[in-house]
């Protein structure tokens, strides 16, 4: 019996292969294409941030510090976008501090109570460090950001605009990351 069964198994497998292989390949291909497109969408929707620290002073920005600031600033904007769309401050916990945190919390509370939400789509940030404190405990950035701003009232779009906004940003080092303390838009630098 055992021998018979083992003898038949390859036949079944062969049979499965012969009829299901194109379907399997097609499924795998479709899955790959779907995942690739999802990845592509995710990659496109993440804020694009370029940081230049060559003009920062009086202290020069160390390479590792630069990469950490870039990472944390980019993450702060990605989380801000998520928070303002979902009207929840949870995504930005620990990324903003001081005035920036108070303003942001107030904005989310206001949006929630009025039924509004905001989307910051296709973000591009060209960031320049203009001041890095002598002791390395504070950095000021100038961010020229452009994005598609969409404001919705209960899911209905009431405002859509491609904007270029100049932000003055103050960041300070926290326990394990740099946090945004001030995020103030100005007409020009």
């Amino acid at each position: 019996m055992m021998r018979t069964n083992t003898g038949r198994m390859p036949l079944m497998v062969c049979s499965t292969h012969s009829s299901g292989l194109p379907k399997l390949v097609a499924t795998a291909l479709a899955t790959f294409v779907l995942l690739a497109s999802l990845y592509s969408v995710a990659a496109d929707s993440a804020p694009q941030v370029v940081l230049n620290t060559s003009k920062a002073g009086p202290r020069s920005v160390e390479a590792q510090t630069e990469s950490v600031i870039l990472r944390d600033y980019k993450f702060a904007w990605a989380s801000l976008e998520q928070a303002l769309e979902s009207n929840s401050i949870a995504p930005v916990n620990g990324l903003f501090a001081g005035t920036a945190n108070a303003w942001f919390t107030s904005a989310v509370t206001g949006q929630r109570s009025t039924g509004l939400s905001s989307r910051y789509l296709n973000q591009n940030h060209k960031v320049e460090a203009v001041f890095y404190a002598p002791e390395g405990d504070m950095i000021e950035l100038h961010d020229t950001a452009n994005y598609d701003l969409q404001i919705l009232d209960g899911g209905k779009s009431i405002h859509e605009e491609h904007v270029v906004v100049h932000y003055v940003v103050l960041m300070t080092p926290g326990a394990d990351r740099w946090v945004v303390r001030q995020l103030q838009a100005v007409p020009q630098f």
Binding site: A107, L116, S118, I151, Q182
Partner: protein
């Protein structure tokens, strides 16, 4: 014949339909434009944080007004053709605001709110304890803020005043650039408090840096034999400007004799470090603290 008439009729009907459709579309566009003009908005110019402002509207009827700013999102009903009042509280945060009016369709206008005058000065000074006689040892960064915590970016002069032990009172005037003014200075020659004040308009903030003695400048040791070996001690240890080195600073004593070496780390207490060393016969004793070596002491056999 009948067939041809029908074709012509159909063609005429189509043309007429096309005309009517085009006319309707034109009327729609014209209507929409007229409607849009009805609800034009004029943004406040030169808005300042914490000051009321207004948005002028045209048209008539009621509409829904939205204001979205750095720390605010409000929604309320307004009458078109009247000014929309924005309260001081609604405009406390400096930055970009978007005002939207919806009545069928939506119209929007963006405007900026500038910071008010500085009433607070954030002043970061480092370090809290500074060794004396060091170049550019003390630094300070001042950032002016208005009463609503907006960073004041307009250039403004900040006065840094420095006074304390071993430092002639000095004053530096630095204009803020991008909302920041900073300085650095040498530490004084004497240990003690260094008072640093930053002032802008009538606002001032004070910080204190404790100046402490620097590293020992030289070590002199003396010693004598006793029952257990040798008792050695330093003369009062001072830095190069004559300040007593803080208690707890470690002095390393080393005794070498024919049998080998004995090393003892001793903290300074009341300006002097002491140690009991082992050794027999002729012993050479030396001391070191940081990068400073003391004199060598040779004590003979008993």
């Amino acid at each position: 014949m009948s067939s041809s008439t029908n074709t012509v009729c159909t063609s005429h009907k189509l043309q007429r339909g096309l005309w009517l459709s085009t006319l309707a579309l034109c009327l729609c566009i014209a209507g929409a434009m007229a409607y849009a003009q009805d609800a034009d908005l004029r943004a406040p110019s030169g808005a300042v944080a914490g000051n009321p402002a207004s948005i002028a509207t045209t048209g008539g009827g009621t509409a829904t007004f939205y204001l979205v700013g750095p720390s605010i999102a409000v929604k309320r009903d307004v009458k078109l053709g009247e000014e929309i009042a924005l309260s001081a509280k609604e405009l406390q945060s400096a930055g970009k605001y978007v005002a939207i009016v919806c009545s069928g369709s939506c119209r929007s206008v963006g405007f900026f709110v500038a910071p008010a005058k500085p009433v607070n000065l954030t002043f970061l000074v480092h370090p809290s304890r500074a060794p004396v006689g060091q170049p550019n040892m003390v630094s300070g960064v001042a950032l002016p803020f208005d009463e609503f915590h907006n960073l004041v970016l307009a250039p403004a002069p900040v006065d840094f005043q420095i006074a304390g032990a071993g430092v002639a009172p000095t004053s530096h005037r630095v204009s803020t650039q991008n909302g920041v003014a900073w300085f650095h200075t040498n530490s004084g020659r004497s240990a003690g408090a260094l008072q640093i004040t930053a002032s802008i308009n009538d606002v001032s903030t004070r910080r204190v840096v404790q100046q402490v003695a620097s590293d020992p400048c030289s070590l002199r040791i003396k010693g004598q034999r006793n029952d257990k070996g040798f008792m050695v001690e330093t003369e009062p240890v001072r830095d190069c400007t004559g300040n007593p080195v803080p208690d707890g600073t470690i002095v390393t004593f080393t005794a070498k004799d024919a049998q080998g070496m004995d090393t003892v780390d001793a903290p300074i207490k009341k300006g002097i470090a002491r140690a009991q060393l082992k050794g027999s016969g002729t012993v050479t004793i030396s001391a070191a603290s940081g990068v400073v070596m003391g004199n060598e002491l040779r004590l003979g056999a008993q």
